[in-house]
Amino acid sequence: MRTVTEERGVIIGLEVHTQLSTASKLFCGCSTDYREDEPNTHVCPVCLGLPGSLPVINRRAVEYALKVAKALNCRVAEECEFARKNYFYPDLPKGFQITMYDRPIGTQGYVDIEGEDGEKRIGITRIHLEEDPGRLVHAGEGDRPKYTLVDYNRSGIPLLEIVTDPDLRSPKEARRFLNALRTTLEYLGVFEGDREGALRVDANISIEGQNRVEIKNISSYKGVEKALTFEITRQRGMMRRGLGIERETRHFMEARGITTSSRSKEVEHDYRYFPEPDLRPLRVRSWLDRIQLPEMPAARRERFMVQYGVSLTHARTLTGELRLAEFYEKVAHVDALLAATWVADTLLGELNYRDQSITALPPERFEALLRMLKSGAITDRGAVEILRRMLDAAARHEPIETPERIMKSLDLGRDNATDLMAMAAEVVSSNASAVSDYRSGKREALNFLVGQMMKRTRGKADPRELRRVLESILTSG
């Protein structure tokens, strides 16, 4: 049976707003790192829109935007130009937003993703730079707050808007596109995905020639998939009941996983765009040619396979996130293949399960753990146990002890060989019937004996080694 998300006739396009990780705002020198600070402390006449203030373009922001344009294979014109988008809103200090209109940074690019049926190319309509407005803080609850305050710390934060062609066919593809985009932006070093408000998405979706619905206000990767899945179900339901789909804007309620109509009939806004007279057009084409891109995900994937000999699956996983790839490269020297398995499978699984980031674990701790595994000082099970202890400590913001210490304190060290021999002899002598079964050709009887050994070592021993030790006693005796 097909699931709803795989049904045909679904057309999705995304408008992604990403926050560029510059140190200062787009048009003034105010710091962008306001996370822990009081409202309205990262402001100046420019980002407050005080009369007489003028914008000055942040060179770094343009450079970042051009990097993205290059990485997304966009066409870049000789010049680009800022424009004013005019509308009134209490969080908008100038009564207009400085953005780009008919002369954006880049057009006609693409991103390749894993689609529903193999590799798929998603067109990029355009990318452009713009400033973020301030943030409204409502006092009180419900629809009628007692009053509203404005925090302008966000005002002027540089955003890059990336608009896709309507090439996406399912919520899963949308999610994959966003993951690919995020990876690209992180590799370029222009984006910090963890920052509040770092990513916001508006999604346009239509089904089988019905009207297009715009879903606004989606602020997470998972949210995009959820919102689109909900919307497809809703629209299909409407269509089954013979109802048309209204052309409208809907809002995604993250907590409830649903979209709701913004009720007000969508008035076609007239933003009265015109060129920003306080800024000159930017000559970007020649600038673009001087921009060097760092190693991008696909190239790094190839290199991992060649340099470290890891499988395609591991290479893909390890390079799918910049920090994961960097983490891997810090520990790979211990044993490239062992490290690949332990990072891509074990560590990543534990992190995902706990919703933790790779930054939770210092690479030198993991490197020590790999060394212990490689030398045979601990078993796989012991290593997993130690890893969990370390991640738990990180989650509690406690200092992370060295794997050696954890091993000792939990007595997880592998017992030495002579102890094992003694223990094996004991097991053999106290399980005579199993031993005679084994000797009469029942190989499974060995498993029972290994199990007995495991019990005695409380899981610290490597089952393969136990088997070897037992076999040596049984064959010699």
Partner: protein, 427 residues
């Protein structure tokens, strides 16, 4: 200090920060130029209570050169007018005949200097707002090349057209002030690094001066034209070569100018919503009602008219017919000047078509707009233009306007100096 002409909105006394080329001089500053700690109203009620936390770059420059800032001068609200009657604080009267206007929009600056209430003044010129009051009050006023003086701190009316510039009783003082004002400012992206470098010599032998016939048509009072022609003859006697020429794009200039400035103004003035500063209103009903109330009460009728017309000119479906077309016409004006400046070094004509209007004479907005015909071309092209007194009609001063190539403010000022010297000797 009494102010019978109503030249000032706010008196102040900002002492110099150090000694310099302007030491001992009292300077009046138009009230759309930001002064830290001193109210800056732009002649509008909507900015009631607004005190800028920062100085405009030009104010920093003046105080660093020894100037004392003595007041903020009256103006047409946000610079929208040529009489100073559109001020939210009453009109400024003409010092020569108080029944007449002082011109505008920098009328307070013009009157303050002409009446000796200040030694020098700063104005801003979007479509003639320095040159018009200079002409009407009988003093000198210069609109610099676009990009020569930083606009940082100048409250925008029409960003692509306007410049801050000096008003003074002598061309020598204009030159001194330009030496201080023309400084690169990285906070204004349209400001170029072109210091003003001139000690006026008054030597204009061999300078070619074009006289476009259009500058003597378009409702120019024949008596004004006659005074200006005599001034041009004077320049010829000083060794300049006078060449008759034509500027066909003049017929589009006013429409291009008003469409552009109103469009930009509709956007620039959107920030006056009462949220962060200015006129307090009750925000309880809803934010749009509060915005509407602030703007309804705070803006005068001419401002409302221009914001509405500008909004219209930028709207979908009309943009191409108005704003975009105005930019095409603006290019034609630029091209005409470029063409003329291949053959001549300066262009001369009257500053204003008439002498100062009587108070209330220009109550019809269209007739007021028409009076800008001779000043707006320089703003559309971004070229430097000066107005200096060159005679009288009915006892009221007449201004001679000289325009030059981009960034050749020096030649414009030097020619004006030559005329002023010659005229001074004659009188």
């Amino acid at each position: 200090m009494g102010d019978p002409l109503n030249a000032f909105i706010t008196a102040c006394d900002l002492p110099p920060l150090k000694e310099g080329r302007l030491s001992g001089l009292r300077i009046a500053v138009k009230d759309n130029i930001s002064t830290a700690g001193v109210p800056t109203t732009c002649g509008s009620r909507i900015l009631q209570g607004y005190v800028p936390p920062y100085d405009a770059f030009v104010v920093e420059l003046l105080r660093a050169e020894g100037a004392r800032i003595v007041g903020k001068t009256n103006m047409d609200e946000f610079g929208m007018g040529n009489t100073t009657e559109n001020s939210g604080f009453g009109p400024t009267l003409n010092p020569i005949d108080p029944r007449r206007v002082s011109g505008g929009s920098s009328g307070g600056s013009g009157a303050a200097v002409a009446a000796g209430m200040a030694d020098l003044a700063l104005g801003s010129d979007t479509g003639g707002s320095i040159r018009c009051p200079a002409a009407f009050c009988g003093i000198a006023g210069h609109k610099p090349t676009y990009g020569r003086v930083s606009r940082f701190g100048l409250v925008a009316y029409a960003n692509s057209l306007e410049q801050i510039g000096p008003l003074a009783r002598s061309v020598q003082e204009i030159a001194t002030l330009l030496q201080v004002l023309c400084r690169h400012d990285p906070r204004d992206s349209t400001c170029r690094n072109r210091p003003f470098d001139l000690v006026p010599t008054g030597e204009i032998r061999g300078v070619k001066i074009g006289i476009p016939e259009e500058f003597f048509g378009f409702g120019v009072d024949p008596r004004v034209a006659a005074v200006v022609y005599r001034a041009i003859e004077r320049l010829e006697e000083l060794g300049a070569e006078v060449i008759a020429c034509s500027m066909p794009s003049m017929k589009y200039a006013l429409a291009a100018y008003y469409t552009t400035c109103m469009s930009e103004a509709s956007s620039n003035l959107a920030r006056f919503d009462g949220v962060r500063y200015g006129l307090p209103v009750d925000h309880r009903p809803s934010w749009h009602e509060a915005f509407r109330e602030v703007r309804k009460r705070g803006f005068g009728s001419e401002v409302k008219r221009r914001v509405m017309l500008g909004t219209f000119a930028l709207s979908a479906g009309y943009y191409g017919r108005y704003y975009a077309k105005a930019q095409i016409a603006r290019d034609l004006v630029r091209e005409d000047f470029a063409q003329l400046f291949r053959e001549v070094d300066l262009i001369a004509g009257p500053t204003m078509p008439t002498i100062a209007f009587r108070l209330g004479e220009k109550s019809d907005p269209l007739s007021s707009y028409l009076a800008d015909i001779l000043t707006v071309p320089a703003n559309l092209a971004g070229i430097p233009a000066i107005s200096i007194p060159c005679g009288e009609v009915e006892g009221m001063p007449v201004g001679l306007q000289l325009m030059g190539r981009h960034f050749q403010d020096e030649l414009v000022v030097d020619a004006a100096y030559a005329y002023e010297q010659a005229r001074g000797c004659e009188r």
